[in-house]
Symmetry: C2
């Protein structure tokens, strides 16, 4: 069976939405990616770093989902990366209230020996040089490397490093505004073409409540977000999407464009659960039946029978 | 064969976009609806009003598309309704620069005898009492009445009249902001439920470049907008969508939810052409082959094969 190597933050978040606020809760890109990918019952490992203040129960919860946490370094006397943010009323934008890098500032990722030949590598949002370092440790060329990043790295002094990692990946996932910033093109069709020139053969543009687009050469696939009665907390939705995408590709061992369509649907489906509760709560308690039921809703939402002349 | 009765403005528009500006050109909701519906080769008629300044060539162009223009009243000495607007850089919003009602101010619609039994009635955006007057002239209850309206009528002193017509239609098409305003709900799922209580059994929420949603009881269908390299002029896109929707339903004589999905796809498909050039230019010169080709693109964009457990 293929293996999934996940790199990204494991962190504390404190979140404010129009519906309420949390104290420090479990967060981080790798956490959401791992929880999401765990729905496919694949071997996976997280490479990350936390401080001594990180509760053992969180690590245990990840282990219970069959995620290998041995490469989550615990820094003695260190403090875990902390992010605090407040969402605006429409939940489409947010302000960062506090960002404490803590142990993340000196993070040197170490890929476990038994994951240096992982078929799929999911690089969650992090400093581009950390992402690069992970790729350099692989002893076998991965079948597929997926990169998630954000606008923070699209400015000086990071842009050159970001371009280096972008040149080395197969798939990039970014949101619409980031695609515009990275490419200098307003039209997402044009933006995808510019980004493809930078390296990745597959461009996933996430549009939040407006769904996600997958571009590859002249082909485009679109998956809507499931229309929900209430979005409670968007934190981690993009990472959950990436975890579903990379998790499904690991499970199915098929990286064709046609199969990536299905991966996009799985990613969108899992993300639709993530936003229903604060933080990781919903993703920690998700059963197969409700995931399958919602996939059926995705089919009904998007599939039609049309006769072409 | 079923007939389509179209009510709405036939007008002059002057449009400014980031790409250029036009002088007075042909516009109006009924114009776009008629041109779009004419792709289905169905009997259709437009009920509207213009002034003596309205060029005969425009009427001829509509007639050449097999649209019955005999109920477009030409008011002697009158001036045609004129709208002028400027789109912002993202093309998602616009400012009205000038609105001259002219002959529209005293418009008394008269439904032609041979259309008083039309199976499908498409009420384009107009004063709600004008829309109501058209429905009252029908001698046979239409199989389906589709209402398009806008936020302008959702305020005093029009809101009560708008509610009267909303109560009498089967389908309403509005954009996302209008759905929120009309319902007082931010979530579009909740908004659709509130609007369904007001009368229409089918709610179409148009989201511009983000596609369109169709709601009916517990069912939801979504059609994306085709990702385009360039949107040149969004004027008339919503009307073109409505024309494709109602035109296809007239042609197919099937008003089931399943068939409305196809109608939504046809509407989205035709709207994707409309925005490629200024005004009606693209819709006046559209051939069957390119419409079919783009329907195929819609299929590739949205259809996937997924196995459910």
């Amino acid at each position: 069976m293929s293996k999934l190597l996940i790199v990204g933050t494991v962190a504390f978040d404190a979140i404010q939405t129009p519906f309420g606020k949390t104290d420090k809760i479990l967060g981080g890109a790798a956490t959401y990616i791992g929880l999401s990918a765990s729905n496919f019952n694949i071997p996976s490992a997280i490479v990350s770093v936390v401080g001594e203040d990180f509760p053992e129960e969180y690590l245990k919860m990840l282990k219970d989902k069959n995620i290998d946490t041995s490469a989550i370094e615990v820094v003695k006397g260190g403090k875990t990366f902390f992010w605090s943010g407040r969402y605006h009323n429409d939940l489409n934008s947010r302000d960062s209230l506090d960002t404490q890098l803590n142990v993340l500032a000196d993070f040197n990722p170490v890929v476990p020996e038994n994951y240096k030949d992982a078929e799929i590598v999911m690089l969650g949002n992090l400093h581009p040089l950390v992402q690069l370092s992970v790729l350099e440790q692989m002893t076998t060329k991965p079948k597929l490397v997926v990169l998630d990043t954000m606008n923070f790295w699209m400015e000086e002094p990071f842009m050159n490093d970001l371009k280096k990692i972008i040149a080395k990946v197969d798939v990039i996932t970014i949101n619409d505004e980031e695609a515009r910033q990275l490419s200098g093109e307003y039209s997402l069709v044009k933006a995808a073409r510019v980004i493809e020139e930078m390296g990745p053969k597959y461009i996933v543009i996430k549009k939040g409540e407006h769904g996600a687009l997958l571009f590859h050469e002249d082909q485009i696939f679109f998956a809507p977000a499931l229309p929900l009665e209430e979005v409670f907390d968007p934190t981690g939705a993009g990472d959950t999407f990436a975890g579903g995408f990379s998790g499904y590709l690991t499970k199915s061992q098929d990286i064709s464009f046609e199969n990536m369509k299905i991966a996009i649907i799985h990613g969108s489906n899992l993300a639709s659960f993530c936003v229903e509760k604060f933080g990781t709560e919903r993703m920690e308690n998700l059963d197969k039946a409700e995931v399958q039921k919602r996939l059926q809703e995705f089919k009904e939402l998007t599939q039609f029978e049309i006769e072409l002349a």
